[in-house]
């Protein structure tokens, strides 16, 4: 159970090797934190984070999680809860970025990517939401992206999967009103991380740490959506309405 400052005792990170996800977990470390679970395809990949987080009385463990195995997602959540008890904060930070050029030539690869980013998120999101309803409390943080706000030709497979994820997360948040639980949708712009290594940054880029700061502030303030950096909220208010022919010419990356 979180305390009155919104400090969690138990955190589950879905996407245990995500730079942003781990940065968020780091920000949630307080004297209140007791248990951290990092869930990823290959638990061994999270061992450095486990070692870093599992200090000062915090118990940090890594578990196997396959975002594409929707049939097992409900059981996965039950297993985690059986191990660590109530989930105070769940961070959904897994996703495949891929390369649009590759997707153009390989529809199957595109389908796999969006299955992780959207379909998998839907099934695990619903499983987590059921648990949060059962507990009567808890927060689900969903890492969306501005790439879904107005999808661009340069990465429309990724962008559309994020658009779907964003809509799902908002609807889920609405359906949880009154349940004691809530959803926070985080919309970062370009983030300098291992996922974007080698790519040219777009305007209004940020770092995993600044996304984490915005996220935790938003959690504590009870926000429903946050943008990183915050100015993107206003950027997209405008961008949304720019006519297509102009939008397509903008150097947005």
């Amino acid at each position: 159970m979180q305390n009155s400052f919104g400090e969690p005792q138990t955190v589950l990170l879905l996407g245990g090797t995500s730079d942003i996800g781990v940065a968020i977990v780091r920000r949630l470390v307080t004297p209140t934190l007791q248990k951290v679970v990092l869930a990823c395809r290959n638990p061994a990949d999270a061992s450095a984070s486990i070692a870093e987080l599992g200090v000062d009385g915090v118990s940090a463990t890594a578990v196997a999680f396959d975002a594409t195995d929707s049939a097992r997602h409900a059981a996965f959540v039950d297993d985690v809860v059986a191990e660590v008890g109530d989930l105070d904060v769940v961070v959904m930070a897994f996703g495949v970025l891929g390369e649009q050029a590759d997707f153009d030539d390989d529809p199957a690869a595109a389908a796999s990517a969006v299955t992780v980013n959207y379909t998998g998120a839907v099934s695990i999101g619903l499983a987590v939401a059921s648990q949060l309803r059962r507990q009567g409390h808890g927060h689900l943080v969903v890492l969306s992206s501005v790439a879904g706000e107005r999808v661009r030709a340069s990465n429309f497979v990724y962008g559309s999967s994020k658009a779907g994820l964003d809509g799902f997360a908002q609807g889920l948040g609405d359906s949880l009103v009154g349940s004691g639980a809530s959803v926070l949708v985080v919309r970062p712009g370009f983030v300098h991380s291992s996922m974007t290594e080698g790519m040219k940054p777009t305007p209004f880029a940020s770092t995993p740490e600044s996304v984490a700061e915005v996220t935790v502030k938003g959690l504590r303030a009870g926000r429903r959506t946050v943008w990183s950096p915050g100015i993107l909220r206003f950027v997209f208010m405008v961008l949304r309405h720019i006519p297509g022919p102009i939008f397509r010419k903008l150097p947005l990356g």
Binding site: M1, Q2, N3, S4, F5, G6, E7, Q9, T30, P31, T32, Q34, G57, G85, D86, R133, R134, Q135, G136, H137, G178, S179, G180, A181, R220, A221, G222
Partner: protein, 465 residues
Amino acid sequence: MTEPAPPHSEPPPRLTELTGWGRTAPSAACVVAVDADTVADTVAMAHKGSDRGVLARGMGRSYGDAAQNGGGVVMRLAGVAEDVVIDPAAHTMRVGAGVSVDDLLRVIVPRGYFVPVTAGTRFITIGGAIASDIHGKNHHREGSFGNHVRELSLLLADGSVAVISPTVRPELFWATIGGMGLTGIVLDATINLIPIETSRCIVDTIRADDLDEVMVAMEEGDDRYRYAVAWIDLMAKGRHLGRSILAHGEHATLEQLSSKERDAPLLYRAGIIADVPPVFPISAMNRATIKVFNEVWFRKVPKRRDAELQSIPEYFHPLDMIGAWNRVYGPRGFVQYQILIPYGEERALRVVIERLASSGAASFVTVLKRFGSANPAPLSFPAPGWTLTLDIPAGTKGLSAMLHELDHIVLDAGGRHYMAKDSHTTPAAIRRGYPRLAEWQAVRNGVDPDGVWQSDLGRRLGLID
């Protein structure tokens, strides 16, 4: 032929988000109204349906999550103050646990009685007073609420009702006093009464210009009075650190009233002057406003004022005069920090007060009191020492880190936290502050092996599994 309507049409159970008085850390539970006849069956039904357990909730005046049970069932036990049975020879009363002190006082004060211990608010239930083992301005002489409970009826997890007392099942009795509702549901209790001649108090007030002055005045003066408490201006720094108002009180005798008041010596009127509206979007309580308020209040009080007559609500329950005063803290809510520092560790108390004053955390109501002896309850908060209570807006920058730091100072000095107020501390802090916790857990597990009684506080602080 249609079914006849049920004799009592209670509202159906509803999923409701609950918080404490600080309006923080909400959780949702199925809230259901029960009375003495329906409570046992409702508990049995609730426990069958889920593993999140059941908790009785009074008026929700605990500041944190003591009266919440996320994902479980929360019960409101009805209580009728007029049904109180007074034994004038023994000076005791038998009263339902669902009765509020507010309603009770309206019945007993005109009959010449007062409750043996009252907290700073009259909007709590008798059950809540027992579960939190509340203390008041007379603790230094008369102990806490549990000291005055002769016996109580407790609904146990197995559905039976046990009548327990300091001599009948004393372990279970003392585990229930201060047991945060986690040993069972108190149905009713027999409690001592204080006979009073009038409904007024006679109060001697001193304005102290710094912390040393007020602490000396309390050490020297408290034991001469039944009631003693000091209000500290936490906004004052430097040589004014700890400037305060110390109020020593007694129940007024008939001779102490004016001749006009003697016509109706037990007249009791406790109303609400104004209600804070539900939409109070910007917190009115910030450093600036509180500083101004305190400046005026602490300057206005004369250095010394003797034998002032105050009504019961004025002396005991001043904040209750504003309905829903917790709303002025705005949507982020606030937290209360109440700790105990044992006698002999005054240095630690001074450090805590200095840190709070210099942090700029804006506390509107800060109270300092000296405690007397502890009672046998393993989870009871009061013990010989100083207790400091303050409330701070939850959104104050750096507050959490500061409170965790102060916790170390308090615990290192042999002190502890008051769970009825707690909204931030850790299981480790509770284990350190309450060395008899394991003993309490053994008693609780003995009467509740399946975990029927649960609460958010119980889970968060590691009182229960």
